[in-house]
Amino acid sequence: MDGYPQNISKVKNRASVGWLFRMAWRDGRASLRRLLLFMSSIVLGIAALVAIQHFGLTLEANISGQSRELMGADYLVDTDATPGPELLDTLAQLPGVMKREVNFASMLSFPDRSGTRLVRIRGVESGFPFYGSLVTEPAGAGMQFGASRGALVDATVMTQYALEPGDSIRIGRLTLPISGSLVDAPGNTQVSTSVAPAIWIPYPLVEATGLIQVGSRVEYNFYFQVPPGTELDAIYERWDPSLDNAQADMDLHTDTSARLGRRFNNVGRFLKLVGFIALLLGCLGIASSVHIYMREKRASIAILKCLGASRRQSMLIFLIQIAGIGLAGGLVGTLLGLGLQAVFPLLVGEFLPVTLQWGLHWEPLVLGVLLGIGMALLFGILPLLSGWFVSPLAVLRVNLKPTGISKRVTAAILLLILFVLWGVTSLLLERPLRALWFVLGLAVVFLVLTLIAWGIMRGIRKFFPTGWGFEARQGLQNLFRPNNQTLVLVLAIGIGTFLISTLYFTQDMLLARAQLEDARPTANLILLDVQPEQTEAVAGVIRPTGMEVLEDIPIVTMRLLRIKDRTVEALRADTTATLNRWILSHEFRVTYRDSLIPSEILREGEWASSYSGQGPVPISLSDNVARDAQVGVGDTLVFNVQGVPMETFVSSIREVDWGRMQLNFSVVFPPGVLEEAPRFHVITTQASDAERSARLQQALVRSFPNITVLDIRQLLGVVGDILNKISWVIRFMAFFSILTGLVVLLGAVRTSKYQRIRESVLLRTLGATGKQVLRVAALEYLFLGAIGSLLGVFLALAATELLALGVFELPFRPSWVPFGVVFPFITLLVLTIGLLNSRGVVKSPPLQVLRREGV
């Protein structure tokens, strides 16, 4: 014992950190292609996230940078009531230069050609917009707008009716020439103009249309420009209360753009989640690949430990590799994301109100790189940790099994993963609670998928088709080979298929709903603003065409004066009042009838079908209005009906299905009360085809210029168009999940390549032909693809069924597309990728295989 005075517990292993990195590189170099494949499984998810995040910031910066151009002014005052003396008085005192606008929906027609179309008429004083400009054709038309009697007509309408500048248009009783085509105006998006194309007419001509009458829905805007540097917030503080009292609202350009930004942000958040799923899928791929990678590295780790490396060192070498992969994945993904976002305007350009100026934002870039390293390590940590437990004794005993990681550590790491995922989604969603639900929901989906996949695999094992031919049996058997990644692959394929199929099914369900409506004899032409004395005449125009008047609904507009025992004024001034404020200034459109209609269900109280003539009038409220106004059955409400106060009480509360394409009302009176009030009618009819509809609209507009016709068929077309565009964006994002699934698949196939080569050599040594070996491989991938994608489709079916029952309350007939297209396509894709990789397997000469010591 003497002669060895050292005390080993005081000696330190002196290999430097630099050596760890050198070892990581040396060892990784040999498996570089494989490591790069691991890397690519997170690249797409990160790219998607960075792209959305960066694009979102760019959009936000553009919106807030162009907020004046979006509004065309520094601030505006708007109201939907005819401005009274009080408001006009306040407006006169407001600082800055003022320009007025009146806007309303109306039918556009032509004195010298056929065709009518619902448009938004904007009567605007010349000089507006203060900021930004009207893009017109010819270019000068915008500058000269208001100087002459010309209108600017939305460019799509111009093309639709083959109009040229100089042609005449008719709006109500007004006929005027077109001075130019309006290509773009402040705040416009292609989508918004497709829903309601705008016609700009000079402000002084609005009166001549004869369309501003009692009951018409008209919006009055007053735009202001103030000298640069003016404190807008101070103006708001000073004037908003008095504007409130005059039933008007003040909006600063900054508020409008902030609101707009928030709206886009909401959409962005949803898309981020879709991107995040792609990233998660890639992370699962990493977890699985690292697991197998570390298993193969056991021998190396044992040697390292035998030669004197500590447990920490031998683990760190591989941890550095995985972190390196994460870093590389983060960098590549981030760069790809930056490139990708440049494509976004092609996808969503029609929704954007601004012309984009590109800038560089560093937050998404940092996020991308951090996500790369963080996620790779997070999902690699469990397999990496197994390196800690490899015994150096394995150098002597090759088949020594390492002691496993304890259940408690595993559980702790899984919890850590969930926790980090929650953190990241909170960051993306900016809503911690919702993020928590999302992560938990995701965990459940993964768990269910895993359980089902696991169950299927066990089932196959238990009831193994022993009667099958050799190749089929061998192919199936291969799914259970040691070190198989079957579960992860089924998961990756399943989730990808699940995403696309769910998209298809939901879209289908929503489209089917529109068709359902078509099948029933429901109204598809809605005539608004019909004067009481016109109803007979209108029916007289409709009936000869063979159509029927389906409904003739009287409408009276009114505002609230008192809720229970408090006046609206008092409530408005009371900052502690918790009721929803829109109630206080809303102009209610009220009808009267004696019975419920199919879209309504009585929830509380009693339906009043008539009025005795004494005491307060029994009315019925929709549940949302009752909730927002904080009133229940029996509470009293006083309405201002065109200047006349009317006392009512809540007799019943209805649930209303607003989603139905039907005229629904939040407030319904019994007959016998409002018949004498100034009112207008809504008449509905059904045109069996587009041509009849056009002809009727033409006839109606000619005889009754004040009537507005809502063409539901056309509207549904526009809405369908928009839905289509949105679903494109979502599909684009879901595509990343699919691609990631494929990369994970590629990685898994590559990982098992060496093993496959061995098997193939063995089979061939035993006398199998190359063709047979290939067929075995083909069948294996066929099984894999079929199980994964079928699982995905069925899970999507279940999820959509749940959605249909729980959220949309719709009958759901599944489309055949996921079964007929998605399922075979994905299966074939898996097969192709697998076979492409197997060619090398069959070709490699046996000798080379026998000499290789697993790389």
Binding site: A299, C306, G308, R311, L393
Partner: protein, 222 residues
Amino acid sequence: MSKILNVDQLRKTYPSGDQELTVLEDISFAVETGTTFAIVGPSGSGKTTLLGLCAGLDKPDEGRVALCGEDLTLLDEDQRALLRNREVGFIFQNFQLLPTLTALENVSLPLELRGESGAADTARTLLSKVGLADRLHHYPSQLSGGEQQRVALARAFANRPSLLFADEPTGNLDDETGSRVVELLFDLNQEAGTTLVIVTHDMDLARRCHQILKLKGGRVQV
């Protein structure tokens, strides 16, 4: 002369089903510094197990192993690894080179673990001593078994160990290559003055050693 390896009352069992399988029982011996020592015995007699215990790759159930004056049973896994790195070299039946490292890098590894500079130079010298000067940058998969074992030899001597463990170093080689490797092993050992503990089936090889320990059924045969 001091004892570089001191084994005292060693006992090792493995769980096998519900029972315990006693693999080694009551093993005591000592190896003098600078000598050669052979462990022989029939297959399954516990030779490899004993070697693993002596090198601190595994822990005994009872008894003590003192290596270079350190009681292995008192050290934790990392400390034993450190001790191996400073004092012990290994040669295995199946070579155990790192497949992802070149010959040169494999040989440099023990020195690099010590944080020594000039690892590559030492490694190069050693590799030319074993006749592989022209195969420095080859990977193990590009070398024959004999060549791989020679790389392993160079690696074993790289950290100038005081004690070298060899577990059937010729087991995977044909007779001729095997005897060349053995010659090389004894030459290098002589030159470095290393203590050699060798596990072998080969009685000729065993007889070249100063001392022979015969194992049978997990016990020392007298």
